[in-house]
Every structure is written in structure tokens, then in C-alpha cells.
Symmetry: C2
Subunit: 598 residues, 2 copies
């Protein structure tokens, strides 16, 4: 089945232009988005969308993105190029002929560390080295600010500096509190940082589907997700063409790409969990590390003795990785090969700087199962594995639930901090109720905003189709924007020093009836404009000093302009009242308001 080949979404968002900030220590260009605002300075924002929103860059998915990190990596001198593992038919799920997605047209030999060196950001951070990646993310996090904006949050132990310095980044990585997922084979990457003393990030999941398997489709899914703000993308593809499609995605991805290698390993053994072996898994790790996958979800925390703990659950094991491993453990009646070979897994990851996302294979799938014995037993094991990974200089983050009612969310964060030694937390939602299929982006945004506030570093999005079907383009956008607003609400509540700038700019625009600014400063300018057009379609209404809710006859914000103007002139209440008696109309003409603002 062939369907229309989509074009890749390019071009800036409304009123936005791409700008690049230079490094002081390294030759880097850090991309930023600048939104122009009438009567105010432009607002500079974090920009995850890559070169796709830069009209000066020619996009060709056959070429891939420019290798911005190429020079940085060579400069380290601890990396060698080598022929790499040959691609096998099994890598692509035995797709052949017409059913085989073409390989990415440019082939190059992979990089790896020389000998048993660790070339991870953690190794460099511990050695006191500030890499270009570290300076890049420091500049990125500051969003062009030179000072903190007003802040008054409750950070629950997070320590957000007024300005992020490259040294602060280094120290946070060295402490294990943050990671920069950046495989040395992902040279197209614009580095980003995940840690609770930085902006809260979001991840979007994509995956191939049986009916649409063109490379353009798969690349466009990723581009679409980052256009709206996804900070990382997980490729959860299964089945045919998995290797080749992943190549197309990574070569065109400016954001870190995460995978669950177990899915591909399972395909290689024909979908039979008990046939999985350490050797097949190991091979898959190397295959994906050579391609440039930035982080691996590894379900090494699911151990044999934990499986019976799930027997009384309402929804059992809901993680695919978790259930694959549970089945394997039961069948062989032995400890998981992921757990037993974890040090060897680390040895692979340190040579490529693949970060760990230690999976929560026993996460609760319902309110009834939240915070149970199985979930916390796994969390403690994952905490032990974190120490092993750190001893190998590997970067680690920890995956979290799932379905959790509001009153049990804080305990998840507290337990994670305690047992996982402050390694960054990366949660799915959590969903705060089970009763709203079709609205689980919202049931989970509630939990996500809260756990982000409490200290979770990255939030894995949930789309409206969760539990029901495969998300389409609109669902992905809805999921990403819902999670952007949840992450931002968390930043505000934590007291992130720059977060409120955008709220304030938008609210000023709202108060002054600058409709275009209000749309452009929002997370989804297109939808906001479309909704405004539905009621007041005319262009003239975009400068109207009223909105459709109250109409031109009476608008609550008008009076406030009068009050403010009077107060600024230090008029007493008596005089203000007198002035109003002289005949201040409720509907103030536009010019009068503009005068008052000056």
C-alpha cells in the first residue's frame, strides 16, 4: 500500500526567526527562536525545531542535516572510525525487494572510543573538561537572558541558578544529576540537557506503522514533533525496515533519539520472548549504537523475584519491555540477562556515549496499582544499576510511571531521589485517573505538571489516542503542546528564573488587545488564530480593542487602562473619580489606550 508522500514541514513559526548565539569557549552556534512583538523587544526562546525552521538552510532528507558536531568529536582525539558491523537481513525484519525501505544514501563508517576509553559527557565532566556540548546547552538554557527575571517558586530542593554557566552544566553532569544524551555517532545533534536544575523537557514517541512505511513519513513524524517543541524523540518502531528507517530518522534529527533495543531484538528471534539471548541483544545494542541512538531504554530492573508481585494487580504488567523480560525470566526460571550482563551493557554504551534510560518495566497501569510493592522494588534495583553505570562513566536517567492518583505522585519523586541518587527522572504522565479514554493527554498532563514541579526532568508525552489507537498527526501535535504547557507550568512553579517572561509578554499583549502578539507568543499560534477567526473573522478585529466574549459594548479590561493611567500620573482618588464623572466612556477608543501606555 502506497499513500501520498508527505512534504517535510519547514519554515519558521509565525512572527519567528531563527538566530544563533556564539560560544565563548568553543566554536558553536546555538539556535534560538526570536518572536517579534509589537512595541516590545523580541522574545528569545529555546528552540528544539532544528534547521527545519531556518529558511537559510536547504533541507534534503537524502542529505541529512549538517554534521554540526563533526569537528567537536574529532578534536577529542580519543575516537576512532572503523568499518562497523554489517547490516543483516534480520536488522530490517527480513524485508526484501519492494518491501525493503532503501538504505540511507550516504554511508559512513561509525565512530567508537579507542580501546576501553569512556567518551561520555560524564567522563569528561568528571575530568573537569567542559565540552562543546556543555557550553551549547548552557547557552541554550539561558534563552538569551543576561539576568534572572522575577521568580518566586517552590523548587523542592532543586537549585536553579539565575544563569546557567558551562561550569554549572559540567558540575551537574559530574554529579549525575543531569545528562546530555549525545551518541558520538549522532553528529547532526544539537545537544540538550536533562536534569532537574534545568528547564523541564518533553519527549514524543513515534513509530512506524504497517500502512505507511515511506522514509518521508517517518522523518516527517519526527520533524512535526520537534516543530511543536519535543525535546527528544523515541523511535518505538517494530517489525520490518526498523534498521533502515532508524537511519533515516537519526540522520535527519537535531534532537536526541531514544529507542528500546529489546523491541528490535525480539523481532530478530521471531517474536518469541524466551528465545531472546544475551548475544542477540548485545548485537542489537552495537547495531544501534553505531547508528547514533542517543539513549537506550533498558529494562534491567525487572528481576525474577519481582514477577509474582504483579500477580494481584488490577492491570498486571503494562510495559512491553517489562512483560518480555518477565516472560523470559519465568520461562527460564533465571535472572534476567539484562540484569546479569548489565556491566557489559555499560561497556558498550561508554564507547559510544549512549545514555541509559533505565526502564520501568513494572510501572502501574491503573490507579489501583500505583506505588505498589512491584513498582518500588524495581525502582530500588534501578538505583543499584545507576551506581554500576556511573562507575563505568555512563550517563543515566530513570523512567517512572504511569498511572498515579495525585496524592501518590510526590512519593514517586521522593523515592526516586532517594533510591536513584538524584539521577534525572523521566516519567510517562502520570495519568491521575483511569476514567477518561480519549482525554488521557489531559488526565496525564495534570500528573506531569505536578511531577515536573516536584523535580522530574523530562516528561514523556501522552496523546489523546492513548489506550485506544495509533496517534495521527493531529494527536501528536496535541500531545506535544499539552506537554509543553505542563512542562512550562512546572518551570513556573519551580521558580525557573526565565519562565515567566513568556507568560508576562503574552499577558501584556492580551491586556493591550494586541491579538497578533497574543497568537504569536502562544504555544500554538495557528490554532489560536483559527479559533479567534471563527467568531471574529475580519482582519480589522485583530487590532480590535475587545474580544468576542464581551463584545465591543463592554469590556472589563478597558477600565483598568483608565485606572492605570490615572495612577501613573499620581492622581488622588478624588481626582480620578472627578475625571470619570467628566465622562470616561467604558469603551475607550484605541488611540486613547495607546496614549495611556506611553
Amino acid at each position: 500500500m502506497k499513500d501520498t508522500i508527505p512534504s517535510i514541514s519547514t519554515g519558521p513559526l509565525p512572527a519567528s526567526r531563527k538566530t544563533y548565539l556564539p560560544g565563548a569557549q568553543h566554536e558553536i552556534r546555538v539556535p534560538m527562536r526570536e518572536i517579534s512583538v509589537s512595541n516590545e523587544a523580541p522574545l528569545m526562546l529555546y528552540d528544539s525545531s532544528g534547521a527545519y525552521t531556518d529558511p537559510d538552510v536547504k533541507i534534503s532528507i537524502e542529505q541529512g542535516l549538517p554534521e554540526v558536531r563533526g569537528g567537536w568529536l574529532q578534536a577529542r582525539g580519543e575516537i576512532e572510525q572503523y568499518p562497523g558491523r554489517p547490516v543483516t537481513e534480520a536488522d530490517n525484519g527480513f524485508a526484501t525487494g519492494d518491501r525493503l525501505t532503501p538504505a540511507f544514501p550516504i554511508s559512513r563508517n561509525p565512530l567508537r572510543a579507542v580501546g576501553d576509553r569512556a567518551v561520555t559527557q560524564l567522563a569528561y565532566a568528571r575530568a573537569g573538561i567542559i565540552t562543546p556540548e556543555m557550553e551549547f546547552v548552557a547557552i541554550r538554557e539561558n534563552e538569551g537572558r543576561r539576568a534572572a527575571a522575577p521568580r518566586d517558586g517552590e523548587a523542592f530542593g532543586a537549585e536553579l541558578p539565575d544563569l546557567v554557566t558551562p561550569e554549572f552544566v559540567r558540575a551537574e553532569i559530574a554529579a549525575g544529576r543531569a545528562i546530555i544524551p549525545a551518541n558520538i555517532n549522532h553528529r547532526e545533534l544539537e545537544p540538550m540537557i536533562i536534569g532537574r536544575n534545568f528547564k523541564v523537557k518533553i519527549n514524543a514517541n513515534i513509530g512506524n506503522s504497517a500502512v505507511t512505511s515511506s522514509m518521508e513519513h517517518e522523518v516527517e513524524k519526527m520533524v512535526w514533533a520537534i516543530r511543536w517543541g519535543a525535546d527528544t524523540v523515541m523511535d518505538l518502531s517494530t517489525g520490518r525496515n526498523i534498521h533502515n528507517i532508524r537511519d533515516w530518522i537519526i540522520r535527519n534529527a537535531p534532537v536526541p533519539i531514544g529507542t528500546v533495543p529489546l523491541y528490535q531484538a525480539l523481532e530478530k528471534v521471531g517474536g518469541v520472548a524466551e528465545d531472546l539471548t544475551w548475544e542477540v541483544f548485545r548485537e542489537t545494542l552495537i547495531e544501534q549504537a553505531e547508528q547514533g541512538v542517543d539513549y537506550f531504554t533498558i529494562h534491567a530492573g525487572v528481576r525474577l523475584h519481582m514477577v509474582p508481585m504483579t500477580a494481584k494487580r488490577v492491570t498486571g504488567i503494562v510495559s512491553r519491555g517489562g512483560s518480555i523480560m518477565a516472560k523470559w525470566c519465568l520461562h527460564h526460571h533465571r535472572e534476567s540477562f539484562l540484569y546479569e550482563h548489565f556491566e557489559e551493557i555499560c561497556d558498550i554504551c561508554r564507547r559510544y556515549d549512549v545514555s541509559f534510560s533505565l526502564g520501568d518495566g513494572l510501572r502501574p497501569g491503573s490507579i489501583a496499582d500505583a506505588n505498589d510493592e512491584a513498582q518500588f522494588a524495581e525502582l530500588r534495583t534501578v538505583g543499584e544499576l545507576t551506581k554500576i553505570a556511573w562507575a563505568k562513566d555512563c550517563q543515566v536517567m530513570i523512567e517512572g510511571p504511569g498511572h498515579v492518583p495525585m496524592h501518590k505522585i510526590k512519593a514517586n519523586m521522593d523515592e526516586q531521589l532517594k533510591h536513584c541518587h538524584e539521577a534525572p527522572f523521566y516519567t510517562l504522565g502520570p495519568l491521575t485517573t483511569d476514567i477518561a479514554p480519549g482525554y488521557d493527554h489531559i488526565t496525564s498532563a495534570i500528573g506531569a505538571a505536578m511531577i515536573g514541579w516536584f523535580g522530574t526532568a523530562m516528561l514523556c508525552y501522552v496523546t489523546p489516542k492513548e489506550h485506544l489507537g495509533l496517534p495521527d498527526r493531529d494527536d501528536v501535535k496535541t500531545g506535544v503542546i499539552t506537554y509543553k504547557l505542563a512542562a512550562h507550568a512546572a518551570d513556573l512553579a519551580k521558580g525557573h528564573p526565565g519562565a515567566q517572561r513568556r507568560d508576562d509578554a503574552l499577558s501584556r499583549a492580551r491586556f493591550e488587545f494586541r491579538w497578533e502578539d497574543q497568537f504569536n507568543l502562544g504555544l500554538d499560534p495557528d490554532l489560536a488564530r483559527e479559533m479567534h477567526d471563527e467568531t471574529l473573522p475580519k482582519d480589522a478585529h485583530k487590532v480590535a480593542h475587545f474580544c468576542s466574549m464581551c463584545g465591543p459594548k463592554f469590556c472589563s479590561m478597558k477600565i483598568s487602562h483608565d485606572i492605570r493611567a490615572a495612577a501613573e500620573k499620581h492622581e488622588g482618588m478624588e481626582r480620578m473619580a472627578a475625571k470619570f464623572r467628566e465622562g470616561g466612556a467604558l469603551y475607550v477608543p484605541a488611540e486613547a489606550v495607546e496614549d495611556a501606555e506611553q
Copy 2:
């Protein structure tokens, strides 16, 4: 402009039937919704949808709903019927001829208390009387339960009994901690209770618009909102036909109807705030009380000296009622007539049992303005007014913000409890960030769920069109369901004794791949089914033991069934492992799973 006359939405929700529970003390029939579930007992739920979902009731909006409370009111013997105030042209915004919406066809004389008696639920509660309304809401709150289900929430001082008794309702009302908004002229009402020791409720706003002014349209807006779960409806109409349309709505409303009388009073003086007088306002109160409005938003907390406190705000005064009163106070340089005549307002309300919703005219309209001096000054005044209203035996709830970042939400609840003496709190959202126009149902659902958990008794919904335009039918549904899930998340977190029943029933259905049950038990069965159909349209897939996310080849929930089955048979781990080795397939046939369940 005439557009298509809509039909009123009637008929039960999928797999649901209306059932009525009898009273023990009074002759009442309390409506419930029973969802049938395969292999399980039906789930009985609270039902706000009125007779519209009962196929045995013939609906005719020209007749209005049956006067279920008629007999109850007469039995009290303190109520007289009288000719009532004649309807004037001003009441309908001077609409005449073709532009005049016809009056509701059945006219009847209004009721009021004899002499200066108080006929409020508060007066009866204080006198130790359990009214039919009180028994009605007690039965309703229990949802057919005879005992508490498992509960483990954090209630922040709320005290939710295992079962609600009529005496508990009476005591809560007598203490001022709960209200039953129930104007004696709203005889069609199915009473409901608002208080923090009961289920969290939601309100939906409706209002006429210039282009659609048929009675059917306006009634259908209300019916549509309650079909999806709105517990009360506020009619925020302005302009022409406001009186007649309100009559149509109330005569067809099984839920309490709230209004902001100031809007109509302003229309009567041609939209000029400074021309408002106590006399015009008083007249409007009586007009609406005679029609049967159940609660009035009164912005009596906005006082002259508070107005300058808003001068430095980013978004000034954003409440329409607040800005009308601020303008009036400034113009006349005197105290608000609402504040000065508050006792007389109480004297009117006690004769009809109109409850107060003391308005937050100075609520913050942006993150920057949250929890400021103006907001809390008004809250303290509103607390004083609460005591005055209580002294007059009037029922009171308190309106709250607005726009509040997460870390400032708890303070709103704490201050409200402290200054307003535990009168029920009724909040708009709050929105937890300003940056997502088009998604403010979600930015606010985050705040609503949290403040509901902390103790807010009723949440006023926000639709996706907030700040942008007038909500259409889809927006109203999205807003209502978003707020139902937020209110439910709050109930779960508070440890409401019955809340988790629905989550558990849905999760069991999910785990057992009972797709139809999963749809039917959710808040929006239609959307859930539609989304499932998009990926797996065939009817056969509705009993499929897999979903489109993982497909039939591998499904994480399968293994859990095997584990559970083994555990139930008390098999040791050795035997379980042996059994798996004998060849348990990952994809268990449907029959095997059903066997395991028995």
C-alpha cells in the same frame, strides 16, 4: 438571521439506563445512571443529566420538566404564591416584534416566603429539619453504595464519611460548609449539594449569542452541558431577550441555574456602568428570583479603596462584574452599592432561597497578578459578607481565581478557608500558565484538579476557546469532560470513598480486553469508540485480545494473565517456570484468558 433549529439531545448514554432510588424519610425519586458491564455487576453513578436521558419521559421544552419539587415546597407551609412583578420591555433588552423571543408558554405565579421568613435550606438545617432536598442529595452522593470502597487519599482537613446520611447533609449545611442551591421557584430542580465533604462538582457557562437566539438553541446548550456531566449551569447571557430565554432555560433545567444579575441590570441602564442604581439592581434581583434562579454571583467584595490596588497589575481587572463595580465606585467616588445594600440583598434572597456566589471581581487575569494584594483584600471582605449572609440564613459559596501558578494554588485554598469560615469555594480553573491560548481547558484543568483536591467544592469549567472566542458545541463538551476528569482526579486524591470504583471497573475492562465496557465506563464513550475505530474499525476487534498499539503479535497484558492464573493456583515459581517452558505462547487465545478469570 435564522439558522437550523436543533433538536434537544435525549436518550441514554451507551449501555446506560436511568434508575431511581427511593427516599426513606420523604417521597422522592433520586435519579441514577447504571452502566451495564459484562461479567460484572452494573456500575451505579451520579447522574446530572435529568429526564433527558430517561426514555420513559416525554420531553417537550414548551411543557418544561416535571415539577418534582412542587409537593415538597407546599408541604412546608411557609410559602405563598403571589402575582409577581410584571415583565417589562427593559427585562428583554427592549426587544420587540420579530426580535422578541416568545415568552415561555406556561405562566404561573411565583412563590415567596410568607412575611420575612427565611425559607432557605440553611434556615431549615439550623432548625434541625431534614428537607426532601437534603435526603435527595444524600442518596445521590452515595451512588448506590452501601459501604466505602478502598480509600487512601489526603483530604487536607475535609471529612468525607463512608456514607452520606441526610443528617450529615443537614449538619454540613447548618455549619455553612455546604449549600444546596435551590430557589423555591425552581420546582423542576433535582437538588445537588456543593461542599468540600461531598463529591467535587463542576459548572458550565452558557450564554446567548447575537446570531443564534432561538429558545431551542439556548435550552439545548444547557441540556448538552448536563448530558456530559455539568452539575450546575450559569446563564451569562446579555443583550436582548435575556428574560424570556432565562425562563425557557430554567423551566427545562434539572440542575441549578446561576446568573450574574449585574449583567442584566447594566443592560437596563443602556450599558452605562455609572448609571446603575440600587433600585435597578434590586428590581433585577426580584425579577430573577421569581423566575427561579438558584444562585446569584454578587460582586459585593469590590470596594472603592481596593481599586487602586489593581493599577500596577499586568492585566488589571478581568472580571466583568468587578470592572463594572470599579468603574461605578470611581465615578461616584463612593462605596459600592452592592456592599452598602448587602443586607437588603440578603433579605431578598432568603425569601426565595437564592444562594450567593460571592464573586471575585478582582481575581487575577495573569500569572503575574496571582495572589496579590487586591485579590486577597477582596477575599477578606467576602469573608465578612459571608457572616452577614449567614446571619440572614442565606446560603453562601465563594468564587475564586483565575490565573495562578501551581505553587500559589494551595495558598488560595488556605486563605479562603481561613477568611471565609469554610464556606464552599467555587473556582475558575485556575489556569497554571498564560502561554497556551487554545489549550486553556488544559492549563486550567491542572489547577482545577489540584485546588479541587485541596478542598474546592465546585470547579467552573474553561473551554478551549477561552480568551479567543465563543465556545461552540464541541468546545462545551470538551470543557465539561475535561472538568469532569479534573473533579474526579480530585475526588480520588481526597480519598472519596466511592471514587475509585469507576477507575477500577474501567481498568479491569482494559486488562481483560473488554473494549465495549472500556468505552462505556469512560467519560466519553462516543469519542473513545470513534478513536478505536480509526485504527481497528472492525466489530471483531471490539472483542480482540490486543490493541492497535502493540498489535496481536505481542501484547504486554497477556503475560500478566498467565502470571495471575498461576499465582491463584498457588503454584511455586519453579512450577510456573516449568509450565512456561512447556510452551505458553505470548499470545494467549481468548478462551484461555476467560478460563483464567474464572
